[in-house]
């Protein structure tokens, strides 16, 4: 109802609280006033030239925007004839796309007179970005992180502490991202007067899905301009990994109303969606409410949240942003799972062919696109696919070294077939998903 030109602008700039039947505010009443304040501040700031200039200036002078668009010919050649480009959000300050949203929300927090930022983090990227913004703007910062994730991402814990943030390991539930969000919400209910909850993805109660997308739209806007400049045409497809889905929404937004551009989101398939050990909320989830939004949700017959599983902490979340649920339901975007094994094969492939170490999260998108290009085969000749390389893999080197048995005491045997079989219980290391793939 907000889009004046309904036909040409069907999806872009969709405002909350609802995206089709998804979204909303499934939240305790205690937080509604704070959400209203955030929304009002956001709406005013969007119209304030000074605010826009400050967001732009920080993006350019601090984050390093615009990020590059890099064609990866050697990587593409191993998959199929389609051309593949990477949107290099991994080159941003702090190493991922997360900084875009964090700087924007931190500015809003200051505008609201808040002095303390709290955040949840899975892989640690959002926590690091929030700690960074807090340091830059002189604010207090507490980051909640599942204790399982503090173990997986010890280096990022140290980074946050170096940046002056307090990191609180969360020991409840599955001890991962969803539990960190629960704990951050509990903090916020009690501290809302002086604290802003800097939610890190396009999930949560209104206005977060719309607002976080807005701060990441720069990804899609830049990409569109860059590919038009470089190739004189729009891509045939754009792709990104989807956990909560912020990097994907940022990229998708630039192409939502170009029906000729296919949108692909790749979810964490873990050990394979058929095993139940995965984080593919859209592929196998059903509608439910968690953390303030109605969306697709991994839940059992009683409505209890089911623990998600993924090699990547950043995608290890049992739900997904409500706008993704909407794009999936309308068919505008296609979502498919990528297993840990497929993901790690593409992780290794990008390292080896291009000299770029991706975040394991982003490697899900690499794997999904490699699969797509393989499937297209000769039909893919001349086609262009752009992947959002949402983060760099420094934080994942230890996980990858363990996976590929490169650590002391492990046999140095990269990409060994025995390795894959052992990790997945799958006899074939070849990435050939048979289940639940919507294509």
């Amino acid at each position: 109802m907000s889009a004046p030109a309904e036909e040409t602008q069907k999806y872009r700039d969709h405002e909350g609280p609802y995206f089709g039947s998804f979204g909303g505010r499934w939240m305790p009443e205690s937080l509604v006033a704070a959400l209203d304040e955030v929304e009002q501040t956001f709406r005013e700031a969007k119209e304030d030239p000074e605010f826009l200039a400050e967001v732009y200036r920080l993006g350019r002078d601090y984050t390093g925007r615009p990020s590059l668009l890099t064609e990866v010919k050697r990587f593409a050649a191993e998959a199929g004839p389609a051309r593949i480009f990477l949107k290099r959000e991994d080159l941003n300050h702090t190493g991922s796309h997360k900084i875009n949203n964090v700087l924007g929300q931190a500015l809003l927090a200051k505008r609201m007179g808040k002095t303390r930022l709290i955040a949840e983090t899975g892989a640690g990227q959002h926590g690091v970005a929030t700690a960074t913004a807090a340091a830059l703007m002189g604010m207090d910062c507490v980051v909640y992180m599942g204790s399982e994730d503090t173990r997986r991402q010890a280096l990022n814990v140290a980074r946050m502490r170096l940046l002056g943030a307090e990191v609180v390991p969360v020991d409840h539930g599955a001890k991962t991202l969803k539990d960190a969000i629960n704990e951050a919400l509990r903090d916020w209910v009690a501290s809302v007067e002086h604290t802003h909850y800097l939610l890190g993805t396009v999930a949560g109660p209104h206005p977060f899905p719309e607002m976080v997308r807005w701060f990441h739209q720069v990804i899609g806007d830049e990409t569109r301009e860059q590919i038009l400049t470089m190739e004189g045409r729009l891509p045939d497809a754009v792709a990104a990994c989807v956990g909560g889905g912020s990097n994907a929404m940022g990229l998708f937004h630039g192409f939502l109303d170009d029906p000729e551009v296919a949108l692909y989101g790749f979810e964490a398939g873990g050990d394979g969606v058929e095993t139940g050990r995965h984080a593919s909320a859209i592929t196998l989830g059903r509608s439910g409410v968690l953390h303030g939004a109605r969306s697709f949700l991994m839940q059992d017959e009683d409505g209890q949240t089911v623990d998600s599983h993924s090699i990547s902490a950043g995608l290890d979340y049992p739900s997904v942003g409500p706008e993704h649920a909407y794009l999936a339901e309308t068919g505008r975007a296609i979502y498919e799972p990528v297993t840990d094994a497929e993901c790690m094969a593409s992780f290794e492939m990008l390292c080896r062919t291009e000299g770029i170490i991706p975040a394991i999260e982003s490697a899900h998108a690499l794997a999904g696109v490699a699969r797509l290009s393989r499937k297209w085969g000769a039909e893919g000749e001349g086609k262009i696919i752009i992947i959002n390389l949402s983060g760099r893999g420094d934080k994942d080197v230890e996980t990858a070294a363990e996976w590929f048995r490169m650590l002391p005491g492990q046999e140095n045997d990269p990409v060994a077939e025995t390795e894959t079989a052992e990790k997945t219980g799958d006899e074939s290391p070849s990435p050939a998903p048979e289940t639940g793939v919507q294509s």
Partner: protein, 278 residues
């Protein structure tokens, strides 16, 4: 500002059943006191003990009993209740157990029995089916801590159909417009959140509590009960001076954890003043 509050008391709209929670609170009022509302989690530490403990609540002066439904992501609960409900889930608790527990407590006591549940558990079963089964078990209604009236269309329809109470929360930060909306959507009573925070015993009752009660009354609420952080007889007496009911949870759960149903009985008697023949 309070024009949104419906002039008609919502309970009069119920097709067959009058609000059982309202009756219990009014009965306490007739005795010149605030109602006592006690919370315990379903199935903690096991099904039989949780029924026995809830019955002790009623025997020792509780007018209304809240049976909390264990949930994987209880964002409004502090450590004591979280730990209890996590244990219940870990031993394989399934949702239908709640209706069995409610039925058993209703059978054995005169108290109004509400469930307190996060909304996804209702949503997954379907609001209509959940309400039907709750009514069938003899439950009086439900408190939904993460459901605001804005999202409650299905739940309101289902509870109307089955004559159930629906208790929404109002907070110290709720605007007059929102308070009016909450009061108008609630049936049975309005739950006044006394402090900004999660469940858990606190040393002092926040001075926000009385403001919350007054705001709800100004918006037309006939019954406002106060919870969060209430743990002593002194708190109960203090809140009882201005509210229609006092809600205690964490302190009772801790008593059950440490001393079983007999400890719940002793604490309830102390909190309600039953031991002094109130």
């Amino acid at each position: 500002m309070s024009t949104e509050a419906t002039p008609a008391e919502p309970s009069t709209q119920a097709p067959e059943t009058a609000s059982r929670t309202a009756e219990a609170i009014e009965a306490a009022r007739a005795q010149g006191r605030a109602a006592f509302i006690g919370y315990l989690p379903a199935g903690y530490p096991d099904k039989e003990t949780s029924i026995a403990a809830a019955i002790e609540l009623a025997r020792n002066g509780a007018d209304v009993i809240e049976i909390g439904v264990p949930y994987s992501d209880p964002v409004m609960d502090g450590p004591v209740i979280q730990q209890a409900t996590t244990e219940v889930l870990a031993r394989g608790f399934r949702l239908p157990e709640v209706f069995e527990i409610v039925a058993a407590v209703v059978e054995a006591t005169d108290a109004a029995v509400l469930v307190m549940t996060y909304y996804n558990l209702i949503d997954r079963m379907g609001a209509e089916e959940f309400a039907r089964r709750l009514a069938e078990a003899g439950g009086a209604g439900a408190i939904t801590p993460d459901l605001i009236p804005d999202e409650a269309g299905e739940w309101i329809a289902a509870t109307e159909k089955h004559g159930l109470d629906r208790v929404f929360l109002t907070a110290p930060t709720s605007s007059p417009e929102r308070v009016a909306q909450i009061v108008s959507a609630s049936r049975g009573f309005v739950y006044g959140v006394s402090v900004m925070g999660v469940t858990g015993a606190r040393d002092q009752v926040s001075d926000a509590a009385e403001r919350v009660v007054n705001a709800a009354r100004s918006a037309g609420a006939e019954r406002v009960c106060v919870g969060l952080g209430v743990s002593t007889r002194a708190h109960v007496e203090e809140i009882g001076r201005y509210a229609d009911g006092v809600i205690v949870g964490t302190a009772l759960v801790a008593a059950l954890r440490d001393g079983g149903p007999s400890a719940v009985a002793a604490l309830t008697a102390e909190l309600t003043g039953a031991e002094t023949g109130r």
